[in-house]
């Protein structure tokens, strides 16, 4: 079995399976934990209003604007760049639509009535380049900044690596740089599979848990009457 056949077949199937198991394990495991009973009198009757923290935490408070601007801007840049490259590149879309149809039994287009929009390869390549640049910048910042370096561990660096790897390999495959296309696309798929396997067990899981934790925290704060 050559590398591409493995990457497209068993490699992909195992990665997806581990991803699904891992994500649900972690999510269900956290959700079913017993919440510590809060015996105090709630300051606010409608604690659910604290859920707005899910949204409002998406940008920094005025007081922190200056000190966090660099991280915020670059963070948004690579998150958006990554998602655009992931969700609006035709070969990726064909994959997602195939999974969609396989799981739900209907075509994406039949359900939503529109075709999944996509950009041409050149545009995606641009977003990829921006993503890579931003990711390198935040890595340098993480290493240079004493505080960030202190609070960083293997998880941070490895999660960074599995994030940038599919983008870089995808761009190499698009540009046919350095190796035969089949090898490049196989390496791209394997890097994506590494991302999927690592995802639930490292800090990348924040993609799911960030909203859970913000919501929980918001409700606790609201109940305590803290200013959000």
């Amino acid at each position: 079995m050559d590398l591409l056949t493995f990457a497209r077949g068993p490699g992909l199937q195992w990665a997806v399976t581990i991803f699904v198991i891992g994500v649900l394990w972690k999510l269900v495991g956290v959700i079913l934990l017993r919440a510590k009973p809060d015996l105090s009198e709630p300051r606010n009757p409608s604690t659910w209003k604290g859920l707005r923290l899910i949204i409002t935490r998406s940008w920094p408070r005025k007081e922190f604007l200056r000190s966090t601007a660099f991280t915020e801007v670059l963070g948004y840049t690579f998150h958006i760049g990554f998602l655009v490259a992931l969700l609006f590149y035709l070969p990726h879309i064909l994959f997602f639509e195939d999974v969609f149809k396989g799981v739900l039994g209907v075509n994406f287009q039949q359900v939503f009535g529109v075709q999944w929009p996509y950009f041409s390869g050149g545009v995606i390549n641009f977003f990829g380049a921006v993503t890579v640049a931003a990711l390198i910048a935040v890595l340098i910042h993480r290493i240079v900044s004493p505080v960030k370096r202190l609070i960083s561990n293997f998880d941070d660096y490895f999660s960074w690596f599995v994030t940038i790897a599919p983008v870089v390999t995808g761009m190499l495959a698009y540009g046919h740089v350095g190796a035969p296309y089949q090898t490049l696309i196989a390496v791209h798929l394997l890097s994506m599979e590494l991302l999927l396997v690592w995802f639930p067990f490292g800090k990348l899981m924040h993609a799911f848990t960030v909203f859970l934790s913000r919501g929980t925290e918001g409700m606790q704060f609201e109940r305590k009457g803290a200013s959000l």
């Binding site: 056949t5 699904v20 956290v30 079913l32 064909l94 390869g121």
Partner: protein, 363 residues
């Protein structure tokens, strides 16, 4: 020299050079120079090599060539003989002394086998062995025999005296369709059986005729085989993917795709990627050399590339499914994975609660 394949005018051709032989057949040196120039151009050699090739080949003795058919459909022979009359690569049959080819030779039965054995004896160590079809290795090769002998024994015996082996077509190169799952005959590529001889793979179902001509011309000119890629294919013809050299590539780059075989995009000749074209992962020269005297190739005719020149192309999923599609598993597998995930998560949470209770009780 066996008489079975001898052309009428080959009375003294045994010692004649290729140039003299062609002249005797009415092919002028001028025509031959043109042939060599065209070949050099197709093989991406420097244009001045055309003259060098013409001079070297004109002085060369025609090599003895044995063509063995194993588990094959004769499509490869069809491809190469159909190119004969109108095109320049038809000169291939003037370049070689084809001493054994079941389909083309007049002799049959024991006569033809005698011709084969004679040619192997006379040209020991010098003949070129061409093979089309895969080698059946199951039951010691008994699945495919000629004159009571297995293909396997033919190949191992003839390989000993061969200067080089050329695997013609995907079956000989990679096992091809006979090797497709479940491979009942234990079909193998020539290179799986023979390890100690130079082997050139010319895959394709069928292969492009001019590639064989190019390999032979290179052998006659330089006395060696052309540069090969990791899969043993001549780089001059298998250096780029179909996708790289496809005239529809600009549509791929612009994101213009046919969604069905009869929609607006298909009529406009847009990229067939979504319809399962395997061009991006297929190395061959169809997009540049084309077929039927340069008329067209599958993509130009509106059908995606099947990837027929790649190993195991028959087992790589549907021809009509786009490359990123159809390999992620099944809904059942994902459902099972989800169930396992939820169960493990619940168990973990339960274990955590038990532990909390224990601590609360003060155990």
């Amino acid at each position: 020299m066996p008489d079975s394949m001898k052309p009428r005018d080959a009375g003294d051709a045994h010692e004649a050079t290729l140039g003299e032989r062609l002249a005797a057949r009415g092919v002028s040196r001028r025509a031959f120079l043109k042939f060599a120039s065209a070949l050099a151009s197709m093989m991406a050699l420097p244009p001045s090599m055309g003259l060098v090739m013409a001079q070297a080949m004109a002085q060369a003795k025609r090599p003895s060539v044995l063509w063995f058919p194993f588990q094959e459909c004769t499509g490869c022979t069809e491809s190469i003989t159909r190119s004969h009359t109108p095109t320049i690569e038809g000169m291939i049959f003037d370049m070689i002394s084809l001493d054994y080819h079941e389909t083309l030779m007049a002799a049959a039965g024991h006569q033809s086998e005698a011709a084969r054995e004679q040619a192997m004896k006379d040209n020991a160590g010098k003949y070129l062995l061409l093979v089309d079809g895969s080698v059946a290795t199951g039951l010691d090769g008994a699945y495919s025999t000629i004159g009571g002998q297995t293909n396997l024994s033919w190949l191992t015996e003839a390989a000993k005296g061969a200067a080089a082996i050329i695997a013609v077509g995907t079956c000989a190169s990679f096992g091809g369709i006979p090797k497709a799952n479940p491979n009942p005959t234990g079909a193998r590529a020539v290179s799986d059986v023979i390890k100690d001889k130079p082997i050139v793979n010319i895959p394709g179902c069928p292969p492009i005729p001019v590639v064989l001509t190019g390999v032979l011309a290179h052998f006659l000119t330089f006395g060696s085989l052309p540069e090969l890629d990791a899969l043993g294919r001549p780089k001059a013809f298998f250096g780029d993917t179909i996708h790289d050299r496809c005239y529809r590539r600009p549509f791929y780059d612009q994101g213009l795709f046919a969604k069905t075989f009869d929609d607006e995009g298909a009529r406009n000749g847009w990229c067939l990627y979504e319809l399962g074209c395997k061009g991006p992962v297929t190395y061959n020269a169809c997009a540049t050399v084309k077929w039927n005297a340069g008329t067209s190739f599958p993509i130009q005719s509106g059908h995606g590339c099947l990837g027929c020149s790649e190993p195991d192309f028959w087992d790589k999923g549907s021809f009509y499914k786009a490359l990123p599609v159809g390999q992620w598993g099944s809904a059942a597998t994902l459902g099972g994975a989800a169930a396992v995930g939820v169960a493990v998560g619940a168990a973990a949470a339960y274990a955590a609660r038990r532990r909390q209770d224990k601590i609360a009780k003060g155990d």
